[in-house]
């Protein structure tokens, strides 16, 4: 099953925020991505799913400029990730599946570091970090402790808060729910939805099909380095209900 029914009738006026054109990526002789074409729009919550080893994380790494690719073009907020990497990187906030914060710093130092890198003003920083930490139930007192003392979930919450400090236009989340408790997952889902509702773009990968089916506006399933299916779940509500089955069918075939 390839491109069962791609959503082709997107309104022309929608702003393309993430654009991937003919993306090819190989690891030595092994071709992992074999020509991915994808546009993600402003104000949408986009789900990018697939089973392990089909090129999901490689695609994300190419999109955020963490990996080179052999062929193709990626633009974020209109900036080419190869030609204008700095401008492109200002456009997104990224959360990896494994927390990647500096363990030698305290939580507060880490947030200050991120704020300094993105050139956030002191007023915005104080307002944003307090708001984000409260939303994510990250105890402000804990921020005075070294990150090395944090649990996996706390580190992930810190990374989530850090990724939104500069209020990016695009929020990229790679398996963000790993290690989070059920309350944090629910709050994160609400935050993702609100973010998209405010005209920003949320690009999320997850193994949790239920989360993607319930939350996302559009979803893309990747298989064998290509887009196997792309659905607008708002226009095709049946797909939302059947997403798990569709997912299974794609990999059975």
């Amino acid at each position: 099953m390839v491109n069962e029914k791609p959503a082709t009738n997107q309104p022309q006026q929608r702003e393309v925020v993430i654009s991937i054109k003919d993306l090819h990526k190989s690891y030595g002789p092994k071709e992992v991505l074999k020509g991915i074409d994808l546009d993600v729009y402003a104000g949408e919550l986009f789900g990018f799913i697939g089973k392990n080893g089909v090129g999901k994380s490689t695609t994300i790494d190419c999109v955020i400029g963490a990996k080179k690719f052999n062929q193709g073009e990626i633009t974020l907020n209109g900036y080419d990730i190869i030609q204008e990497p700095i401008e492109a990187k200002y456009s997104y906030g990224y959360v990896a599946s494994e927390p990647s914060c500096y363990e030698s710093m305290t939580g507060y130092d880490y947030l200050e570091f991120v704020a300094s890198i993105y050139g956030i003003t002191e007023g915005d920083f104080v307002r944003n970090y307090k708001y984000l930490c409260t939303r994510l139930s990250l105890d402000l007192k804990e921020l005075a402790n070294p990150v090395s003392d944090y649990s996996h979930g706390m580190k992930q919450k810190l990374c989530l808060a850090a990724s939104l400090l500069h209020n990016p236009k695009i929020w990229v989340l790679d398996e963000p729910t790993v290690g989070l408790d059920i309350m944090a997952v629910e709050e994160l889902k609400r935050m993702m939805r609100e973010y998209a509702n405010h005209g920003k773009t949320v690009f999320v990968t997850s193994h949790n099909i239920d989360l993607v089916a319930k939350l996302c506006d559009r979803v893309c399933i990747i298989n064998k380095g290509k887009i196997a299916a792309l659905y607008d779940l708002n226009r095709e509500p049946n797909r939302r209900i059947q997403l798990a089955k569709i997912f299974m069918d794609i990999y059975k075939n």
Binding site: I64, G65, A66, K67, K68, P85, I86, E87, K89, Y90, Y92, Y94, A96, E98, S100, C101, Y102, E103, S104, M105, Y108, D109, E112, F113, V114, A115, S116, I117, Y118, G119, I120, T121, E122, F125, V126, D139, L140, K141, E142, L143, A144, N145, P146, S148, D149, S151
Partner: protein
């Protein structure tokens, strides 16, 4: 329980290195141990040969050597017990398995016993052999010496177990108080340097004035024999294993088993406590602090400094050594100058002009490079935060230059201060001081560029290969000085040798600089985050 034991062996000895590197590391370790044992036997035999005719003196020296080994074994035991009983990851893993505390503790004790036996036999048995050969002991002596580590286990490991928990608590406390940790490291390093300077001065005085023989005067040996009775309880062991006074075994064993039982009880309770209660720190109260949003470059510098000071390793191998470098260099250079200006050396040195100067030069260069080696793990120290480096909106060039320049600037400052101290106090001439400073600065830069090149080649979570940087930090300065000595012997002026050296290091470093400049971006993008 056997599985637990095997797991501890694997944890203690396994590494992620390749087989060839493990073999090389194994050979280096064996050579190092062999050198230590040879030195130990050489010193011990030399002393025994000088004093064997004095009554009670060989036994007293045997007791002294055994006392030194005992102290070393206790220190090693504390470190090993800390790693065995209070390894947080191990504790976390074990909580998931259906094993009881008794099984865990018993398996760890068995491991501790075998490792103690192996280490003790390695360092103690050669002493017994040397003693037996010099004093001509019967066969039984060599046989019962094999049981020495078994008997000493209770006392030595008892003390180790008794103090391991406070030591672990203290290390946990230090981890959370960086300034205190740094201060303590400084105190230890300065104390070590001070002790080293005193021993070196004493040795130099004895060598320079040909007074080594006065150590073994009758008066000194008599005094020393008197000290033996204070080396409690090691003198009990000498009674048992050397003098065949088996009656001394029981008081020693009783005391050893008593201390061991006490230590074991404390360890069982504390292990149980640590295993079952949270080992994470309690939250500190959030104090209102001024928000410090800085420029991106300042933030990167701050981050690098936090990475460089994050662990005891960096504090001891880099920051601490940088601070004591001027003092240490001055002492070593002065000591070498004194040694080479006395006795037979004076004659040899006059044959080869500039020999002392070039050796001083070599010491300054090698010291600078070796200390810098403790901080140029630019990529390794990032671990999984490599991805942060790739996603923040700062160019990779800026990030890597900041990474490289921080340790370089710190080493440069210490080198500058060292050069001033050496010249100001007359340890080296002004020309040598300036040339050593220039040569070391260029070498330092080239060494850091090569280290960056090696770091950027790290793939698949494997450790960095350090062949080229090792050649530049050890082999190159050494070969250069050897060539310099030969050229000096052939009549080349010192200024020409220095200038040729600086030119040589620039020429050899340029290809690396060009390579890094051209490939930095591509290599950086190929770096993988360690998950």
């Amino acid at each position: 329980m056997l599985n637990l034991l095997i797991k501890d062996f694997k944890l203690m000895f396994s590494s992620e290195r390749s087989l060839s590197k493990r073999i090389i590391s194994g050979v280096v370790t064996v050579l190092f141990v062999a050198c230590f044992v040879v030195l130990e036997i050489f010193l011990f035999s030399a002393v025994l040969n000088k004093i064997k005719d004095f009554r009670q003196a060989p036994e007293a020296f045997m007791t002294l050597f055994l006392a030194v080994v005992t102290i070393l074994m206790i220190v090693a035991g504390v470190l090993q017990a800390k790693k065995l009983f209070f390894n947080e990851k191990d504790i976390e893993q074990l909580t998931r398995y259906p094993v009881t505390n008794s099984q865990i503790i018993l398996s760890k004790l068995i491991f501790l016993f075998f490792s103690h036996y192996a280490t003790a036999i390695l360092f103690v048995y050669p002493l017994f052999i040397a003693y037996g050969q010099t004093i001509t002991m019967p066969v039984w002596f060599y046989y019962i010496a094999l049981f020495y580590p078994v008997v000493s286990f209770f006392f030595e490991m008892g003390i180790a177990l008794l103090v391991v928990y406070p030591v672990w608590m203290f290390s946990q406390f230090l981890k959370k108080h960086l300034l205190l940790e740094f201060g303590l490291a400084m105190v230890l390093l300065l104390a070590g340097t001070y002790a080293y300077s005193n021993i070196l001065s004493l040795f130099i005085e004895l060598v320079a004035n040909n007074q080594l023989s006065i150590i073994f005067s009758t008066e000194n040996i008599t005094k020393f024999v008197g000290i033996e009775k204070y080396l409690f309880p090691i003198n009990f062991l000498t009674d048992v294993f050397v003098d065949r006074k088996y009656g001394s075994l029981w008081p020693y064993l009783s005391m050893g088993v008593g201390i061991f039982s006490l230590g074991l009880t404390v360890t069982i309770f504390t292990f149980h406590y640590v295993r079952n209660l949270s080992i994470t720190a309690k939250s500190r109260p959030l104090r209102e602090r001024k928000v410090k949003i800085t420029s991106p470059i300042k933030a990167l510098i701050k981050k690098e400094i936090s990475l460089l000071t994050k662990g005891t390793d960096y504090i001891f191998t880099f920051s601490g050594l940088l601070i004591v470098q001027p003092f240490l260099l001055f002492m070593i250079v002065s000591a070498l100058n004194t040694i080479f200006s006395a006795g037979l050396f004076r004659y040899y040195v006059t044959v080869v002009p500039n020999f002392i100067t070039l050796i001083d030069f070599l010491i300054i260069v090698m010291f600078t490079l070796i200390i810098n080696q403790g901080a140029n793990n630019y990529v390794t120290m990032e671990e999984r935060t490599i991805k942060n480096m790739k996603t923040i909106p700062i160019s990779y060039k800026t990030q890597l230059i900041v990474k490289m320049m921080i340790p370089f600037a710190m080493s440069f400052a210490s080198l500058f201060l060292s050069s001033i101290v050496l010249v100001a106090f007359g340890a080296v001439s002004v020309v040598t001081g300036i040339m050593a400073f220039l040569f070391s600065t260029v070498s330092l830069f080239v060494f850091d560029v090569i280290s960056l090149r090696e770091e950027l080649h790290i793939r698949h979570g494997k450790p960095r290969t350090t062949y080229i940087s090792s050649i530049y930090s050890y082999l190159l300065p050494f070969s250069y000085v050897i060539c310099g000595i030969i050229l000096s012997y052939l009549g080349t002026s010192l200024a020409a040798i220095y200038l040729a050296g600086i030119l040589l290091i620039i020429l050899l470093g340029l290809p690396h600089l060009v390579y890094v400049k051209q490939n930095m971006g591509s290599l950086f993008m190929d770096l993988e985050a360690i998950n």
